[in-house]
Amino acid sequence: MDPLNTDLKKEQILSAANTIRWDLGMDFHDTVIESIYEDASRIARKSVKQKGDKGAYSMDLKIDRIVTSKWLGFPLMFVMLAVVFWLTIAGANYPSAMLSAFLIDYLHPVLNHAAASIQMPWWLAGVLIDGAYLSMAWVISVMLPPMAIFFPLFTLLEDLGYLPRVAFNMDSLFRKAGAHGKQALSMSMGFGCNAAGVIAARVIDSPRERLIAIITNNFSLCNGRWPTQILIATIFIGSVVPAQIAGLASAGAVVFVAVLGIVFSLVVSWGLSKSVLRGEASAFSLELPPYRPPRILQTIYTSMIDRTIFVLWRAIVFAIPAGIVIWLVANIHIGDLSIAQHFIDWSNPFALVFGLNGVILLAYIIAIPANEIVIPTILMLTVLNSGLSGMGAGSGVMFELDSTADTASILHAGGWTLLTGVNLMLFSLLHNPCSTTIYTIYKETNSVKWTVISTFLPILLGLAVCFFTTQIWFMIMG
């Protein structure tokens, strides 16, 4: 058979099908589907017997009526999320302290002694131990415990069947923003870790809506940023209100920032779906699955392997070179000042317009691997820059203090005000994703363009928000 003839025959088949299709009429497709349903229903009738009442599902229905109700749905969701976060933050404190006691307080000096005893050059020891090792130790001790608690808890909620209800509740909000209802799921996952949230956006079929979910995931305040929020709120917000309500006020401020993140998520989704990612929200059917008792051990295992270790590994890979950079900028001197101090002096005038300072800008640039090391880097740079003596652990060595009061005094000495605190909280919400997330976005989208947009869009928003906050502040305060 020559190829031309074959092609002709194929086209003949297709055109025959076209002709017959017209004869079959408009409702042809429906009748085909109906015939499938009819057969399915007949077979089911023959083989299925329902004895007595419907049993457990009536219970499911009752629960659903509560958790997806108009009035209780949202409050219950926030309570559930709040409980998960409280367990994460409270539960992570102890193991975090243990890890940090071992890796930072014990092993770090041991390594330093070892380096000294083999007469390693000071700069090499600095780069390797104070830079690379310490940064890795920080990331592990601050990141591992909360993730090891948050992800299993989240996965348990998933296994139980609660997550589809969250998507169900949030669906109309996201739909109005031109996004996919399942974005609620990737958004919630982002509260744990944005990199995991970006991966979770895979559940969204439509590429347009999936991109929106990926780009806006960074507006979910991740685990790495909660401690920053809590610390800064305690120092700056808590101190301007009477002591009795200080805790409540700072907690309220943190929740406000988190909710602001959700608002930004919706607004930016809306903006994207009206501009570069134009389109209608696609309809999807989401079956509410039955509630099932979660399998605890298996859940812990899979969430550890699939999420915790995966994300932690990526963070470590990025933290090591960043630690080296952090040490180098604090220790390489040009003239009298280190590179870090040059940058801080140079960027200060610019940063002050936004109510921030050069230290914060530099910290956010060099601590890009993980939001967890932003505060230690800020403290180190502040001490370095303001020449405080008797504080900290030496130039280029990140540290954190046990007492909030000591941290506060360093920051006040660095020229921080309530406005700086507020702006740092806003900027911590609205800035570029960490490098782990950026890399994940690239992996998921396979596009430099969207990775760049996801990276810089939040920075621009953050600078704009800080700018207006600062200007309005000055207008009011005169």
Partner: protein
């Protein structure tokens, strides 16, 4: 489910016959596809067979890309492909396209259809659509424990006779029914069990006539095509990806003798 411990002598229960291969899938003898509605426990069954720990979760749409694993049973090597869960195979979404293309072009030796025993009627819609495409399938009647809790009784024999394929009740989360499933897969793969899959009966004679007409033409052009009637119906419905497959001749690569060995590029859905 009937008590299982009184048939220890039966070869079905000889666990030693199973070696979970995880990701090691070289030189497979048979390819098994796992299909089914979302949230019926496909990934759980998949994990039980392959020893892998593909993430499972109680919500629809968990498996977003194709997962693959392998096992050895009675000295034969099997590759298992966990397809995304779908409600139909009409190809209205990426998931449906991935699942359908694999069953159609990937030509698995056996397709395991995992269904939710508590929602059998709805799940049968997909089952019947799969049986239109492939001849060799096993129905895994999963979540039997939930069905029991809800006082639902299913007559497996009637169901098996109606569908023309083996029906295996299971509770994958408790690892129940997995050995029976392995055995059924083997029987279908080796041809010990010959499936006589249910074909849609309630179509009008007019439609049947139209299908026959196109099918005859297809048969002439693509001899050996195992599911001419289904392809004819899709052409009549104006299904673009099938029209494209006819035009490109991709359809011609499908025939019974080469089953399971074709590696088409249609399955990558990385965005």
């Amino acid at each position: 489910m009937s008590p299982m411990n009184n048939c220890e002598t039966c070869p079905v229960h000889n666990k030693a016959n199973l070696i979970k291969l995880g990701l090691n899938m070289e030189q497979v003898d048979f390819v098994v596809a796992m299909a089914g509605n979302p949230n019926t426990g496909k990934s759980t069954v998949f994990n039980n067979l392959t020893g892998l720990r593909q993430h499972t979760g109680n919500w629809p749409g968990k498996t977003v890309s194709r997962a693959e694993g392998g096992y050895v049973y009675n000295e034969k090597r099997y590759k298992v492909v966990d397809l995304p869960g779908t409600y139909s195979l009409l190809s209205t979404s990426t998931d449906e396209e991935v699942a359908r293309n694999f069953i159609l072009f990937g030509q698995p030796d056996v397709t395991v259809i995992v269904v939710d025993a508590t929602r059998l009627e709805r799940n049968l819609n997909l089952t019947l659509q799969i049986l239109e495409i492939t001849d060799r399938a096993v129905l895994c009647l999963n979540l039997m424990d939930e069905a029991q809790r809800n006082n639902i009784e299913i007559d497996e024999r009637t169901l098996s006779k109606e569908l023309g394929i083996p029906v295996i009740p299971s509770a994958a989360r408790r690892k129940q029914g997995m050995n029976e499933l392995l055995n059924a897969i083997e029987e279908v793969a080796t041809g010990k069990f010959v499936c006589r899959p249910h074909r849609i009966k309630s179509r009008s004679s007019k439609i049947n006539h139209a299908i026959a007409e196109i099918a005859a033409k297809l048969e002439a052009q693509f001899p050996g095509l195992p599911n001419t009637n289904w392809v004819a119906l899709r052409l009549l419905e104006g299904d673009n990806s099938i029209i494209e497959a006819v035009r490109s001749g991709e359809l011609g690569h499908i025939n019974a003798s080469e089953s399971g060995k074709i590696n088409t590029g249609v399955l990558t859905i990385d965005a």
